[in-house]
């Protein structure tokens, strides 16, 4: 036998008790939506997981009204320290239920269990822990003393990191004193609904967190709702642009976290084995469904062949298959629509003259899959070098000098992230200084921490999430009158203990 054909090591699904249908989570309880319910399937098997409600306009009204009530009556009046207690409690519940959440995420999204278990869910807990600590320290958020919360936040999140994006949105909003109505992506609502159960378990006052499910129309209704004070969106640039237009001229404060086409720049003095790992992690992590993915590899011409060779042999060791198997490296593509897009753009890449190489791997019969693919001989004018593929597809370009690397890296309408690989610290700093990207990783890639702000330049969006900047997005400077009031009263009785 071959040792490398590791025996199956599936994570047990026994821990997950899915209901046959899920309603909307409004005002602290689940209720049926008025829209047509839709099926949630596993992208790895196309099997039916559960049925999920659709929120129509009336449901959106109800959710926003619940959030407004909770904001006016409880949450905005509560002391920061008490809000923090609730957030700490949520963080601990996420840890307690981490295995269940990881299984649900992998089942619903298609990402490998090793990623949901070791990356997504631990980061979710970290995000709540981090912002729990901010709740009573808002004076230090950079907006002066006694900054004010905004009110009701409408939050729409994507399908690539369903629970993590929820945490990125909800944790800072609640810490700052806002209440939220959140809409998860249509294909990945499951963990948001499990999170609603956690919210109940944590005994959060009803209406502070509302979760409504549905497709694009639900999101449009939510974002466009008159009684919403803040809009936070993570997703594609076209949708982000539409949201920006719809909120223009209103009082709503907006953060947008959109697409990217990150350059991962490898200089000839890079620590080569770690750079290969970083390239792999940069583009094949989460099947490349990452807005900050290092989808454009810029490699110094002198080491191009060696890097591509090593990359190919490394990719040949990646395991594609059952997301719940603990040894799976590459899971399923989230939806057939996304798979079609990846296929279409890859075909265009080939037609434009780039050279395509695909790792040999067995593709399961059912479900949506795309084997890790590299395009060499790519020019900046190719569409695969310009457009976001949002899949396991890497475009390899070359450069000769640092100046050329910087010019090519910046030659994109996006600017979310970038990577630099070099053993020379001064070069890393000099290049990083000239890259127009919100996050720059040096000798690593796709590392996230709640203390670090994250966001983009240009068409990658505006506003920052994470760190002090992330909490500031959900605050405004105190109104002059409010600043004169005595310090906010502390509501301890009946609050989280």
């Amino acid at each position: 036998m071959s040792f490398l054909e590791y025996a199956p090591a599936p994570e047990s699904q026994a821990i997950l008790n899915l209901r046959s249908e899920y309603g909307l989570f409004i005002d602290g309880e689940f209720r049926e939506g008025h829209g047509t319910p839709f099926a949630s399937i596993s992208p790895a098997t196309e099997k039916h997981l559960t049925t999920i409600s659709t929120a129509d306009g009336a449901d959106v009204d109800a959710a926003v009204a619940a959030a407004r009530r909770a904001y006016d009556r409880t949450w905005s009046r509560m002391s920061g320290a008490d809000r923090g207690k609730y957030l700490f409690r949520i963080a601990r519940l996420v840890q307690e239920r981490s295995r269940e959440l990881a299984v649900a995420e992998s089942l619903d999204n298609g990402k490998p269990i090793k990623e949901s278990r070791d990356v997504d869910v631990p980061l979710v807990a970290a995000w709540f822990f981090y912002y729990a600590g901010w709740a009573d320290k808002l004076d230090h958020a950079g907006l002066g003393a006694n900054p004010a919360s905004l009110g009701v936040a409408a939050q729409v999140i994507p399908w690539n990191f369903p629970l993590l994006m929820l945490a990125w949105k909800i944790a800072p909003a609640l810490a700052a004193g806002n209440t939220v109505v959140l809409k998860p992506a249509e294909t990945t609502s499951l963990t948001a609904l499990l999170f609603a159960e956690i919210v109940q378990q944590a005994d959060l006052p009803p209406g502070v967190v509302n979760i409504i499910t549905g497709a694009g129309a639900t999101g449009v209704a939510l974002v466009g709702h008159d009684d919403v004070d803040a809009v936070a969106f993570t997703g594609s640039t076209p949708v982000g642009r539409a949201i920006a237009k719809s909120v223009a001229g209103t009082h709503k404060k907006v953060t947008l976290e959109l697409g990217g086409k990150a350059a991962n720049i490898v200089f000839d003095d890079a620590p080569i084995d770690q750079a290969i790992e970083g390239i792999v992690n940069g583009i094949f992590f989460n099947q490349g469904h990452v807005c900050c993915a290092g989808s454009r590899l810029l490699v110094q011409e002198s080491i191009h062949d060696e890097v591509v060779d090593r990359l190919k042999s490394r990719l040949s060791t990646l395991r594609l298959g059952d997301p719940l198997d603990k040894n799976t490296d590459i899971g399923a593509i989230n939806s057939s629509a996304q798979l079609d897009r990846i296929r279409a753009l890859s075909d265009i890449g080939e037609a434009e003259g780039a050279e395509r190489w695909t790792a040999e791997c067995t593709i399961p019969e059912n479900g949506f899959w795309f084997a890790p693919t590299i395009f060499t001989n790519v020019s900046t004018s190719h569409r695969i070098a310009q457009e976001e593929v949002f899949g396991p597809v890497l475009s390899v370009l070359t450069f000769r000098t640092p100046a050329e690397a910087i010019a090519k890296a910046n030659n994109t309408p996006f600017g979310l992230s970038a990577g630099i690989w070099s053993d020379k610290g001064s070069r890393i700093l000099a290049v990083a200084d000239k890259l127009r990207a919100g996050v720059i990783w040096a000798n690593t890639f796709n590392r996230f921490d709640p203390a670090s702000p994250f966001g983009g330049y240009k068409e990658s969006g505006y506003g920052r999430e994470g760190g002090r900047h992330g909490i500031a997005s959900y605050l405004k400077t105190a109104a002059p009158a409010a600043a004169l009031e005595p310090t906010r009263k502390s509501v301890t009785k009946g609050a989280a203990k």
Binding site: L4, Y6, A7, P8, E277, K326, D423, T444
Partner: protein
């Protein structure tokens, strides 16, 4: 078993394009890409999360036994202790005749004769199911002796019947940048491994990575050991902490892989010291298989230098057949 038949120095001259002196070696070793410590450790940790179950685990446990250099390196070693070690090596689990034998026993030079005698007909090439005798030499573990003493030490062990010599490099010279001296010494020891019939004892080169301190140094020392003609590169003596770690072993395997890509020569790797549990040992098997390929998981290309590891593997083996854990009194001590 027989070491490589290459002419000492041949590897280096071809690669360096000149004599293997301090300047040329330095130019080459310092031109190798650096190692990013964080990235290396991350990769090793990632490999450590592979989940090896059922049939794969059963195979892995048996293979681990077959890759062990069962070791006793104590000042208190006696012929009796060595005989006991050999008995354990030949019959690791008396309750299970199907249990594989270890690859080799590893002893001090003066114990080689006793080990050979105790092994009797079981003595031979581990690739053919027999057990080799490995001897540490060259003023192990510190290596602080004159070259003539080190060579004598080596020749002595080979003459007594050692199949494999585990030498230590001169870490002092390496850290002082005297690469030529380290290189020359390995070449000389390799020569001292030559038997009367012209064959060579297998040479394992102990880098003592715990004293080299940085991954960049480990990588350079690995290249140096290979260029000088080592059949194996080995992490540690087991007398210095830290001994073998997964990141260090991964790094050495990467050098071996790169050397193979460059030359077509296969060099072995031996992590030694500190690997005590089956769980850890399986992580090493995964790292070997996913870095250089599973064809490296044979006794002439990969070994574990260990003593207490064997009994933990035996307990795991028993658990796989009986379904429950036994205890330390259900496996024999050597």
């Amino acid at each position: 078993m027989t070491g490589t038949q290459i002419v000492p120095g041949e590897r280096a001259i071809a690669l360096l394009g000149g004599e293997a002196n301090d300047a040329n070696l330095r130019r080459y070793l310092h031109g190798i890409p650096g190692v990013d410590a964080v990235g290396l450790e991350q990769r090793a940790a990632g490999l450590g999360t592979r989940s090896i179950k059922t049939t794969s685990k059963a195979w892995a446990l048996d293979r681990i036994i077959g890759l062990i250099d069962l070791t006793t390196l104590e000042g208190a070693d006696t012929p009796g202790k060595v005989r006991s070690l050999v008995a354990k090596a030949v019959t690791p689990d008396p309750a299970d005749p199907g249990c594989p034998r270890v690859a080799a026993v590893c002893v001090y030079g003066d114990m080689v004769g006793h080990a050979v005698q105790a092994l009797g007909s079981a003595h031979g090439d581990p690739d053919q199911g027999r057990i080799a005798v490995a001897a540490v030499a060259t003023a192990f573990p510190s290596g602080r002796a004159s070259r003539s003493i080190k060579l004598e030490d080596t020749a002595d062990a080979v003459a007594a019947g050692a199949d494999e010599i585990d030498m230590v490099i001169d870490r002092g010279a390496f850290l002082a940048g005297r690469y030529g001296q380290v290189y020359d010494e390995i070449i000389a020891v390799k020569e001292a491994c030559r038997r009367a019939d012209g064959t060579y004892a297998h040479l394992k080169i102990i880098l003592e990575t715990g004293e080299l301190n940085t991954y960049d140094n480990v990588r350079r020392a690995s290249w140096l050991g290979i260029l000088a003609g080592g059949d194996f590169i080995k992490t540690s003596t087991g007398k210095v902490a830290p001994a073998a770690t997964l990141p260090v072993t991964l790094l050495m395997l990467e050098v071996v892989r790169d050397w193979y890509r460059l030359s077509g020569d296969k060099v072995g790797v031996k992590p030694a010291g500190g690997i005590r549990t089956s769980k850890d040992a399986i992580k090493y098997l995964v790292t070997v298989a996913e870095t250089v390929g599973e064809e490296w998981l044979t006794p002439h290309l990969f070994r574990f230098g260990a003593s207490s590891l064997l009994n933990d593997v035996l307990m795991q083996r028993q658990k796989m057949t009986t379904g429950h854990y036994s205890g330390p009194d259900y496996v024999t001590i050597d």
